[in-house]
């Protein structure tokens, strides 16, 4: 039904035209969910934009055909294209927070869309809107339809977005990362809904995503893209189960499996990112292993509670407080990795901020090694834990100061903690450290924006390690990265942990990643610990119902697909 042939899109720039996608071929049949998978910058979204005719200016289609049924989409006048958009092709965006108008009720937005595309009376449009909401699984639709977007939860909001896309009974829906912003439980519901719509209404879906688990779960066919080109296309089981192209093989190897732990990710192409030098940062390694750095240090937390003051709504009433951490106790054994999983809002990051002294807990005690770890307000700037405990943040774009050179960023812990007092030595050590984390030594005089996300995360890890810490907190260190880069960074963390006997608290929302990293696990929900225990036991025989649900909802691949 949708046929794309030899499609190329170019963006003119001051340095000549940049080719965003080149010779892309794609065919989607009615009722088929076609997955378009690739890493960031692969040109996935550009394909979607080209189909719907909304390539951002000044981009243009250089050549190729796009036909929907019998209609040649490229031959349409702007008015005709406008009519096709929304009527025959709809779009679902990534973030339901921003794709709905916050100032209009859901009803108004639905009716507006329905009336734009078909001449029906207001009452009729209203009925249709209610039916639509019921169809996509919103209970009490007649009542809920009067609500504003912010009165719906994230998953419900994405359902409303889908309802909007369905208003005109389209033949094709382009879903651009429809579940990326959602928690696994909600993601599962949305994916089920998409599958159901494809089967029942015979709608074709172009599902754009970087998440191979999602593709594996619901896509009928899949196309793999890289650098604007399609590498491989076919039945999902065929392409992902028996990948032919080396890139697809590498991609599949980098996906962390949920059902077993692998010691290390296989990375056949450590091409553009990791530079493996001969010395492998021997100097840095020797320096880090020297000094008092010997016995691993554990951490224990007793009855930690963190309450935030709510917003004041009345002048006389005290606002209700919000409990982000509720009586949390756990122990991280020295030299092991503790995995901490939970959905967004479960208190994972709050825990990290309390431990690092950015937030003052309401109650509870913390112990690092043998010494008491004072809470934020009592922890002075010179407290030894400032050095012993370091953190790797989620977003490598904001955790490195954009105006400082890499050399200055890496020298900071050395200088701050008085570890190395000579500027030349600091620089030499920083260069050796870059080598150790697989970065070229000439990176030292560059700025953070000159690196990709994965490279920056390596630099962030290097900065943390240079403080000679004993305890490392990693707060979602790979969730902003592509899956192959994620595998590289996880490998790096594993290597460093083994070499330096670090104790790590590894925070993530991704069960598969947690399984690959953790020796012990904590499952957090609404600030309470649901389950804790050795990782293998927890994954093979989860005790808490919540853990079982999380495991069941995490997209996984059939075991027979494993190429290893």
């Amino acid at each position: 039904m949708l046929t794309i042939k030899d499609l190329s899109v170019k963006f003119p720039s001051r340095f000549g035209d940049v080719t965003a996608i080149e010779d892309v071929d794609l065919k989607i049949r009615p009722g088929e969910i076609h997955g378009l998978v690739g890493e960031s910058g692969a040109g996935k979204s550009t394909v979607g934009a080209a189909v719907i005719g909304l390539i951002s200016t000044p981009g243009y289609i250089a050549k190729g055909e796009i036909t929907l049924g019998d209609t040649d989409l490229r031959a349409l006048t702007p008015e005709q294209a406008h009519a096709v958009r929304g009527d025959r092709i709809s779009m679902i965006f990534q973030d339901p927070q921003t794709s709905l108008n916050p100032l209009m009720t859901v009803e108004d937005q639905l009716i507006e869309t329905i009336q734009t595309h078909s001449a029906v009376s207001y009452a009729e449009a209203q009925n249709r809107a209610v039916d639509l909401l019921e169809e996509i699984g919103i209970k009490n639709a007649a009542e809920r339809i009067k609500s504003y977007p912010h009165q719906f939860s994230g998953g419900m909001r994405q359902r409303v977005v889908i309802a909007l896309a369905l208003c005109t009974d389209p033949e094709l829906i382009i879903a651009d990362e429809p579940t990326t912003a959602l928690d696994v439980a909600v993601q599962q519901q949305v994916l089920d809904l998409l599958r159901d719509l494809a089967d029942r209404r015979n709608i074709a879906f172009l599902l754009i995503t970087h998440d191979i688990g999602v593709i594996a779960q619901i896509a009928d066919r899949v196309t793999v893209m890289r650098n604007g080109k399609t590498l491989e296309s076919g039945e999902t089981a065929q392409v992902l189960g028996h990948p032919q192209h080396p890139y697809t093989v590498a991609l599949m190897d980098a996906v962390p499996p949920l059902d077993h732990k692998i010691p290390r990710f296989r990375l056949p192409v450590e091409d553009d990112i990791a530079v493996q030098s001969k010395t492998k940062g021997a100097d840095a390694k020797a320096w880090l292993l020297a000094g008092e750095q010997t016995a691993p240090t554990g951490l224990s937390v007793n009855n930690l509670t963190m309450r935030f003051r709510g917003t004041r709504t009345s002048l006389w009433q005290k606002p209700d407080s919000f409990t982000a951490l509720d009586d949390v106790s756990f122990t991280v054994r020295p030299g092991t990795i503790m995995g901490l999983v939970g959905e967004s809002g479960s208190g994972k990051s709050t825990l990290a901020r309390v431990l690092t002294g950015l937030l003052h807990p309401s109650a509870g005690e913390m112990t690092l090694g043998d010494a008491n770890l004072p809470p934020a307000k009592q922890r002075s700037r010179h407290h030894p834990s400032r050095r012993l405990m370091q953190m790797v943040f989620q977003d490598p774009y904001s955790s490195l100061n954009a105006r400082h050179k890499i050399g200055a960023i890496l020298a900071e812990p050395l200088w701050l903690y008085g570890l190395v007092n000579d500027a030349k030595q600091r620089r030499a050590l920083a260069m050796a450290m870059l080598d150790l984390v697989g970065m070229p030594a000439d990176s030292i005089d560059k700025y953070p924006h000159q690196f990709s996300g994965g490279q920056r995360q390596r630099i962030a890890v290097a900065r943390a390690i240079l403080a000679r810490p004993k305890f490392l907190i990693c707060d979602e260190p790979t969730s902003a990265l592509d899956v192959s880069i994620q595998a590289q960074v996880l490998n790096l963390l594993k290597d460093l942990q083994a070499t330096f006997g670090l104790t790590i608290l590894f925070i993530t929302h991704n069960m598969s990643v947690a399984r690959q990293m953790a020796d012990d696990m904590i499952v957090l929900r609404n600030g309470k610990i649901e389950e804790t225990g050795p990782s293998e036991a927890l994954f093979s025989k989860p005790a808490a119902p919540y853990t079982r649900t999380l495991l069941k909802l995490t997209p996984k691949m059939p075991p027979e697909w494993r190429t290893a």
């Binding site: 002075s380 010179h382 400032r386 370091q390 977003d395 955790s399 400082h404 701050l416 000159q450």
Partner: protein, 301 residues
């Protein structure tokens, strides 16, 4: 890569913006002329022996009865208009730059600290800023001028006029810097690199000036140019009203005030030429400020 591109991009945008080029040429010409006034100017308006009353009230060269020696004519004392303007611009620019510098240092320090510490300190600084904003800039300047006149002995007063004026202007401009610096700091505070620095136990002063400050420089540079223009205008206004600089060391505002007397008697150039000159200076600085804002804020492009 992006910074390199950006740097190139600034140049590229500049070359493709005629308004910015013209403004830059005008501003640079005026600034150079003012800076080198003692070497460029025909006569020294402060030195009575360098000009003669017999040359008084000569019109610009394109009018009848002009002396080609004095391109834009002379005033009633026989002073060459170009020379007066260059010396006047020298004073105006000096006061403008000095006031802007004081306002920047004061405002940025307070704004950074307010954004960093938050809480009570933030509230106090920002309420003072609010009060300052409620007073018109001229009123603040008048107030400080009045206080200085009352406190300082008469002989020092004349010497310190320039500094009193500078301080008065600076105090009415610092709020812009404080507010912008605070708002930008609040944005940066949520970034992980600042959180990392706090977590590591770095000194607050270092976090503020080494880590945050370079990241909020963009918007501050824009305000600096715009406020330089405001400072020059404010000085001209005060001098025009007669509370700025006296007639024996004339700034552009003083020249315009003096020129007022000749407006109705036919010697229009004594008023109009310094006025147009001031307009050209202020407009060109403002255009450059707008250009900088476009460079630093790609969303407005």
């Amino acid at each position: 890569m992006i910074a390199l591109l950006k740097r190139n991009e600034a140049v590229w945008l500049f070359v493709h913006s005629p308004a910015a080029i013209i403004a830059a040429v005008v501003a640079i010409a005026i600034i150079l002329g003012a800076a080198f006034a003692p070497w460029v100017a025909l006569v020294d308006p402060y030195d009575l022996s360098s000009f003669s009353l017999f040359d008084g009230l000569l019109p610009p060269v394109w009018e009848d009865g002009a002396n080609p020696k004095y391109l834009l004519g002379t005033d009633d004392q026989g002073r060459d208009m170009i020379s007066s303007i260059l010396y006047g611009a020298r004073l105006s620019l000096f006061i403008g730059l000095a006031a802007m510098t004081i306002a920047t240092v004061l405002g940025v320090s307070l704004g950074l600290a307010a954004g960093y510490y938050g809480g009570r300190f933030d509230a106090i600084v920002m309420r003072i800023a609010d009060v300052q904003l409620a007073l018109p800039a001229i009123l603040t300047a008048l107030l400080i001028d009045g206080i200085a006149r009352g406190l300082l002995p008469a002989d020092i007063q004349q010497e310190l006029r320039v500094w009193v004026l500078t301080l008065a202007i600076a105090l009415s401009l610092w709020v812009n810097f404080a507010r912008t610096a605070r708002a930008s700091t609040l944005v940066q505070m949520n970034k992980d690199y600042v959180q990392a620095a706090i977590m590591m136990g770095q000194r607050p002063i270092r976090i503020m000036f080494v880590h945050i400050f370079p990241n909020i420089l963009g918007p501050l540079l824009v305000i600096m140019t715009v406020d330089l223009a405001s400072a020059i205008l404010l000085e001209a206004t005060l001098s025009f009203l007669g509370i700025g600089l006296p007639a024996d060391s004339p700034s552009l505002g003083t020249l315009i005030r003096i020129g007022m007397q000749f407006l109705l008697s036919g010697e229009w150039w004594i008023l109009w030429i310094p006025t147009l000159f001031l307009v050209a200076l202020v407009v060109s600085i403002n255009v450059l400020g707008d250009f900088l804002r476009d460079v630093f804020n790609p969303r407005l492009r």
